[in-house]
């Protein structure tokens, strides 16, 4: 099941995010890592060190692209320059699939550089799905959308977040990058059972899974990617892979980044759960 049309029938294991503080370690020590995820926008440039590093990484590792500013859910038109640069990068990396967030972040050409939560309406689902199709058709690689963590909900919403996710991916016929940490964070902020969310996701569309750490504040929980993964999130991960099978898994660590080894060791903890799923998949 995990090698599916949404991840281009690949069978990737555990990867980590490629981050600047680890460049030297990776290039000099050449650690064994199944794959790296890059932030596409960091390499959608014309030249210089970032692309040089990327090319050296590509000589030895598999890379998957993850975007942060396509804004599938923004009501405005897709940025053609963004798309064109993204396609150039897709050709360079040979990424089997690309992912970005199920969110909005730009209005009338102005960018917030944030991953803003969608109103869960049928109109929004329709517009979002249309843009995902447009991007996929232009890039000619499968697209997976990632559920975001959120701190606000709208009065106009007509369904739950997981119903909205299902509505979008069915309409777009696209994959899902299931971020179990985001589900946990949002469940704390919006008082829902995260297992209900996980159990509602169409397992056959899961192309990839994200795990990460977060920060708890007095009145809300923030998705900060600056801590190890906590046990409740590992439990959600366990449930997710029992449903979806042995899925490409990526640890995100973007702030207060520790040593490469520490990040990689944290990611490899996922092996405990993946080993168990190989004994049998429960739905």
């Amino acid at each position: 099941m995990p090698a599916n049309r949404f991840n281009n029938f690949t069978d990737y294991g555990i990867g980590i995010g490629l981050r600047a503080p680890h460049y030297d370690h990776i290039l000099t020590r050449k650690p064994v890592v199944d794959w790296f995820e890059i932030i596409s926008e960091n390499f959608m440039i014309d030249g210089g060190r970032p692309l040089h590093i990327l090319d050296r990484i590509l000589e030895q590792y598999r890379v998957v692209q993850h975007g942060v500013s396509m804004y599938f859910g923004s009501a405005g038109r897709t940025d053609r320059e963004h798309l064109r640069r993204l396609k150039d990068l897709v050709k360079r990396t040979g990424t089997p699939w690309v992912s970005d967030h199920l969110c909005w972040g730009s209005v009338d050409g102005r960018y917030t550089h944030d991953l803003l939560p969608m109103p869960y309406t049928f109109e929004a689902a329709k517009i979002t799905a249309q843009k995902i199709r447009e991007v996929r058709d232009f890039l000619e690689v499968p697209v997976a959308v990632e559920n975001v963590s959120s701190y606000a909900e709208y009065h106009v919403s007509e369904m739950t977040e997981w119903e909205f996710l299902n509505e979008v991916v069915e309409r777009a016929d696209c994959g899902i990058l299931l971020d179990v940490n985001n589900i946990y964070v949002s469940s704390r902020n919006h008082n829902f059972d995260p297992l209900t969310y996980i159990n509602s996701v169409p397992a056959d569309r899961v192309a990839q899974i994200h795990i990460a750490g977060h920060s708890k504040f007095h009145k809300y929980t923030l998705d900060t990617h600056d801590h190890p993964v906590i046990d409740p999130v590992w439990k959600l991960y366990d449930r997710a892979i029992r449903r979806a099978g042995h899925t490409a898994t990526l640890l995100e660590w973007d702030d207060s980044i520790p040593s490469f080894q520490e990040v990689h060791d944290e990611a490899l903890k996922a092996n405990r759960f993946l080993a168990e799923t190989q004994l049998g998949v429960a739905v």
Partner: protein
């Protein structure tokens, strides 16, 4: 309410500047109380009001864009001082929010905006504008396009008459009124070591930066901001070099470019051939030449990449 209308309303609120103590303003975009404005769109929960939930995004927006400006313009920050720099950035971003899919381009309009809003730099106008130009050139040189370097074999394919040479798009040429390259290097060097410094050392560095700005004397300089082995360098060049490179970049023939370079030069006529030969040798070694031709996409790159994922 349509998706577009909702997004416009929310974006308007979250891009509204924060108060002095970094909270969301009490008055909303159209003079309406922000509590009522937020409550119209955002659901409260058992711990947070609609106002407080919207405020999380409002603060995240401003913290992110202000951090990006501080990272991109540490030299200007030194010239203006921390508080004035932050106030200036807020005013700039309120008028010129990001129009690019990456934060790299956030400061692209800063020089023009400062020229139109000189009150922010009234005491050090020329110095501040020089610094902004240098810091933007630094960004462009870092990840600008490098075309294949010009090879001697390429000469065969060019017309002998009106022979032209291209200059690599990542090479940025600046005529400046202050030696801001020295100042910026000092500022950056201080920032690099801050993590390891004690409070006392940081305080000394801060005073040293202030002193460096205060004592900086005007001096016309010509600079090529370029990169070598993927690191950016500031290279002082002679005025003749500057005019020669600028003319070549604008598509002038080599012959015409040399003519323009020495129009007001003090270099004796007898020494000019050697001067040009030495300059061309240096630039060829640095890989600055490329084939002349049509401008290609990205010759003036506009996006700046940063690790900004919070997904």
């Amino acid at each position: 309410m349509s998706l577009a209308a909702l997004q416009k309303a929310v974006a308007r609120a979250l891009m509204q500047p924060l108060t002095g103590d970094e909270r969301m303003q009490r008055i909303g975009p159209r003079g309406e109380k922000m509590r009522a404005y937020a409550a119209r769109y955002i659901k409260p929960n058992d711990r947070l009001t609609s106002f407080e939930r919207l405020e999380i995004y409002n603060r995240q927006y401003w913290f992110r864009v202000l951090a990006s400006m501080a990272e991109d313009f540490p030299g200007l920050r030194s010239v203006l001082g921390g508080q004035r720099f932050e106030s200036m950035c807020k005013a700039y971003l309120a008028e010129c929010p990001s129009r690019s899919f990456t934060l790299r381009n956030l400061g692209a309009r800063l020089e023009t905006w400062l020229r139109n809003n000189p009150s922010w730099i009234r005491n050090r106008r020329v110095l501040a504008l020089d610094m902004v130009r240098l810091e933007w050139a630094d960004i462009q040189a870092f990840d600008g396009l490098a075309k294949p370097a010009f090879r001697s074999e390429d000469l065969c394919e060019l017309e002998a008459v009106n022979l032209q040479l291209g200059i690599q798009p990542y090479v940025q040429l600046l005529e400046l009124h202050y030696p801001v390259d020295d100042l910026l290097l000092e500022v950056k060097h201080g920032d690099e070591t801050l993590d390891f410094a004690s409070n006392a050392v940081q305080e000394r560095r801060k005073r040293s930066k202030v002193r460096a700005v205060a004592t900086l004397e005007p001096a016309q300089i010509f600079l090529a901001v370029h990169r070598l082995d993927f690191a950016v360098y500031f290279r002082r060049i002679e005025p003749e070099d500057f005019f020669l490179l600028t003319a070549l970049r604008s598509g002038k023939s080599i012959e015409r470019a040399v003519e323009l370079a020495f129009r007001k030069s003090a270099v004796p006529a007898a020494d000019r051939a050697a001067f040009v030969q030495h300059s061309f040798q240096t630039w060829a070694t640095l890989g600055w030449f490329c084939r002349p031709g049509e401008k290609v996409r990205g010759e003036n790159p506009r996006e700046k990449s940063k690790d900004t994922d919070h997904g």
